[in-house]
């Protein structure tokens, strides 16, 4: 047994540390197309203090540390490209506090989307969080840290905009708090000093978030979605502009896909609407479908498909059924809404060139301030050629994002290189200095944001 393995056992216990090949194999890949790499050790701490000790050990031994939440980024962000200690945070799954009146929750970093959703439904049915279309095992903290967005993105922005506070173990071993909690107060606001961009979007290269406070929102008694469809993709930005102006929707998504074929070439919108009464619901529906989109319907260029009660969260993982072999990965981007038509056309071209049924999705973030636009590519996990096609398509799409003036969302290594190449030199230098201050040994998720 190596000294590092023994040290990890001493920090947690023998049950939650492993260097066995079969377990290292499981942690060597994610579900996307990233090349697999095995860690040297896997450890599953239970407390922030254990994380702190692991971090001190790694710093002392100059061993890489790779934090893992749900492992569902698909971009290879938790694949340990330089080996080291993989820190699986799923055991840190306590819901510490839900403040009903203050509408926030304090969570450990391993709490999953499904866990919080069911907890709120059972104990605080008047509250909800902005739940992404990710699988239910995705963690709240992981999603926040990659700037994820959920089904309340339209009114409240990215999930990283909805943070009230963080507890972080930095690579040098200190446990730091950000937000009102840093004053010893409750976790009701991210002020006076928010995390100033030290942890979100850094792909786990600046520290391990061990606690997070997120905002909660009123869960109305009736929640459902209406659908609208147009043929002309050029109409999408103006329709989004009009819908968001009503400020009546919870979630607005535009999408187009080749499968099932009836939707091919059409642009669909799903608009989530919630209400506490039938009167409120009808008022909102009238404002959106009749007053705002009525002209498109009367002209025949837009069609209303009806309203269905109950939420159906977008699961782009369904596209994994498009090809035998069940694989899929997507490029996400943060884009100006006005780019939707070009994103659709160019993405469709890339898909068709690689023989992949196209799927594009744009979720509106903020009141039309931007959208998270994603191009999804299915592949056959058992067919290297199919994986290769998907990987090429993904890289071409990363290039496209930059060409169109967008920002690659949760970039993998290829996308990170593209961003760094285009980044303002002064900004890049500042990021480098921040990284050096926070992680002087360069142990955190090496390979990511490398060469700043």
């Amino acid at each position: 047994m190596s000294s590092i393995h023994q040290a990890l056992v001493d920090i947690v216990d023998g049950e939650h540390v492993s260097d066995r090949p079969e377990e290292l194999y499981i942690y060597s890949f994610d579900l996307g197309t990233a090349e697999p790499h095995r860690p040297d050790y896997v450890v599953a701490p239970r407390t922030a203090v254990e994380v702190q000790e692991i971090m001190r050990l790694a710093s002392r031994e100059k061993v890489p540390v790779v934090p893992l939440g749900g492992g569902l980024s698909l971009a290879g962000l938790a694949v340990p490209v330089k080996g080291g200690i993989l820190v699986d945070l799923k055991r840190m799954d306590s819901i510490i506090e839900v403040n009903e009146k203050g509408r926030y929750a304090v969570l450990e970093c391993g709490v999953s989307q499904a866990q919080l959703t069911s907890y709120l439904a059972q104990r605080h049915p008047g509250l909800t969080h902005s739940e992404p279309g990710a699988p239910p095992t995705a963690t709240i903290a992981g999603n926040v840290l990659i700037h994820g967005q959920g089904d309340l993105a339209q009114p409240y922005g990215f999930n990283s905009d909805q943070v009230n506070g963080l507890e972080v173990v930095v690579p040098t071993g200190e446990i730091c708090r950000f937000g009102s909690c840093s004053l010893g107060a409750s976790w009701f606001t991210c002020h006076p000093l928010p995390d100033v961009g030290l942890f979100s979007g850094w792909c786990g290269t600046t520290g391990i978030v061990t606690k997070i406070a997120i905002r909660l929102y009123p869960a109305k008694k009736i929640r459902g979605f209406g659908q609208f469809v147009v043929e002309d993709e050029e109409l999408v930005p103006e329709i989004i502009h009009k819908i968001t102006r009503t400020q009546m929707a919870e979630d607005v998504i535009a999408f187009s896909r080749a499968i099932p074929p009836f939707g091919m070439g059409l642009q669909h919108f799903t608009v989530n609407i919630s209400a506490d009464s039938e009167k409120e619901l009808e008022f909102k529906q009238e404002l959106i479908w009749d007053d705002t989109l009525g002209d498109y319907i009367a002209r025949g260029s837009g069609g209303y498909l009806g309203f269905i009660r109950g939420l159906e969260r977008p699961q782009i993982s369904k596209t994994s059924d498009y090809k035998k072999g069940g694989g899929f990965e997507y490029v996400g981007s943060i884009m100006p809404v006005e780019k939707y038509p070009e994103c659709y056309r160019r993405g469709r071209e890339i898909s068709e060139r690689h023989g992949i049924p196209y799927t594009v999705t744009g979720r509106i973030v903020g009141v039309g301030h931007s959208m998270m636009f994603a191009w999804t590519y299915a592949f056959n996990r058992a067919d290297p050629a199919s994986i290769g096609h998907a990987r090429e398509a993904l890289h071409e799409t990363d290039d496209l994002v930059m060409e169109l003036g967008g920002v690659i969302w949760k970039p993998g290594l290829y996308g990170q290189r593209l961003i760094m190449a285009q980044l303002d030199p002064n900004t890049r230098a500042l990021m480098r200095r921040l990284k050096d201050v926070l992680d002087p040994q360069g142990i955190m998720n090496p390979g990511n944001w490398e060469g700043l």
């Binding site: 074929p261 260029s301 209303y304």
Partner: protein
């Protein structure tokens, strides 16, 4: 290739031109109705082409056996006056295109039940009533090979119906059925009414689902325990294509001891589910649909209905939530019949 046999002379000779005059969605006098349908038959413009909500009821009202709705739909297509926006038409037309391979055909050599585009509702044809009846189109991936296409009357695309329906009939014939029991009214209407009207040959005998149910219930009469509940029936638009079969609704209710409530919107005066209306181009269509649905369900409630009985899955999808919120249980006719013979259909336990 297939031409609608619409006889203008019948309209000229019609003693009681109520086809459009009785329309629940347009206000037209009797003589005006005659003039408008004649204008449409002659290829002239008519406000009816813009205002028709395609509820199918004129097919039932016409006393001369002409086909006013089929004619209106053809002329709407020819004039570019489809009642719904273009993206909905494109989406709907694409919907009926099979895309997941060819169906596996097993020869039946007897009667079959055709689930058509409702393979996923095979749970509604289980139990003793359906014993010994093979299903065709029970694979959701292949169901559009059996889709009767008549839905396109709502979309002013009779050309699509005529283009595809002969192929659908050929697929059904590969099963070598004796009689084809049509799970959905619309299929029965397609084969018994639409096909003859345009000259598409139907080489099998279509059987209305309710006629089949009624016959089977008679065979199992000893098992029937009267339901006793007060029921309202949501008549689907496609039932207007086979008004002679609508009587089976009452016959079945009597046989199973369900008490049909006295309603304003029943029989020939039934209101459609408004699922089609909500998406139409005419300004205010969504709100109009909401209002129609409210009136319809209020009528059921006022009459004291405990159960709303459906045949059409589209009506069920459109109205079931609304009736349930008003305390009326939405039930498919076949499930109601199964309950009457002592069976417990899927999901029934959860609401008992």
């Amino acid at each position: 290739m297939y031409d609608l046999a619409f006889d203008e002379k019948k309209c000229l000779a019609c003693p009681d031109p109520v086809c459009l005059a009785r329309c629940r969605y347009m206000s037209i006098g009797q003589e005006e109705a005659r003039q408008e349908i004649l204008k449409i038959a002659r290829g002239e413009n008519s406000f009816v082409l813009r205002d028709c909500v395609t509820c199918y009821a004129c097919e039932e009202y016409c006393p001369m056996g002409n086909h006013p709705l089929f004619l209106i739909a053809e002329r709407q297509e020819a004039s570019g006056l489809a009642p719904v926006p273009d993206p909905l038409i494109r989406r709907a037309v694409n919907l009926g295109v099979p895309f997941r391979g060819e169906p596996v055909v097993e020869e039946a050599g007897g009667d079959v039940i055709n689930m058509a585009a409702f393979s996923e509702l095979s749970c509604l044809v289980q139990g003793k009533l359906f014993e010994g009846m093979p299903l065709i189109s029970d694979d959701g991936r292949k169901m559009f090979h059996y889709f009767c296409q008549l839905m396109y009357l709502h979309y002013a695309r009779t050309s699509v119906i005529k283009e595809r329906l002969p192929g659908v009939i050929a697929t059904i014939m590969k099963h070598k059925p004796a009689r084809v029991v049509c799970f959905h009214d619309e299929c029965y209407g397609a084969y018994s009414s639409y096909c003859p009207s345009v000259g598409i040959e139907v080489p099998f005998t279509p059987v209305h689902f309710y006629e089949f149910l009624y016959e089977r219930l008679l065979e199992l009469k000893e098992m029937i325990r009267p339901i006793g509940s007060r029921v309202a029936y949501q008549r689907p638009c496609s039932s207007r294509l086979s008004p002679d079969k609508h009587r089976y609704v009452g016959e079945i209710f009597r046989l199973i001891g369900a008490r049909e409530v006295e309603r304003e919107f029943t029989g020939e005066n039934a209101l459609c589910c408004a699922g089609t209306i909500q998406g139409q181009k005419r300004p205010g269509s969504r709100k109009r649909a909401v209002e129609l649905q409210r009136k319809n369900v209020e009528d059921m409630k006022r009459a004291g209905a405990e159960i709303c009985v459906f045949n059409c899955p589209a009506c069920f999808q459109t109205l079931s939530g609304l009736v349930a919120r008003e305390g009326i249980r939405p039930v498919h006719m076949s499930d109601l019949c199964r309950v009457a013979i002592g069976e417990r259909p899927k999901g029934w336990e959860a609401i008992e």
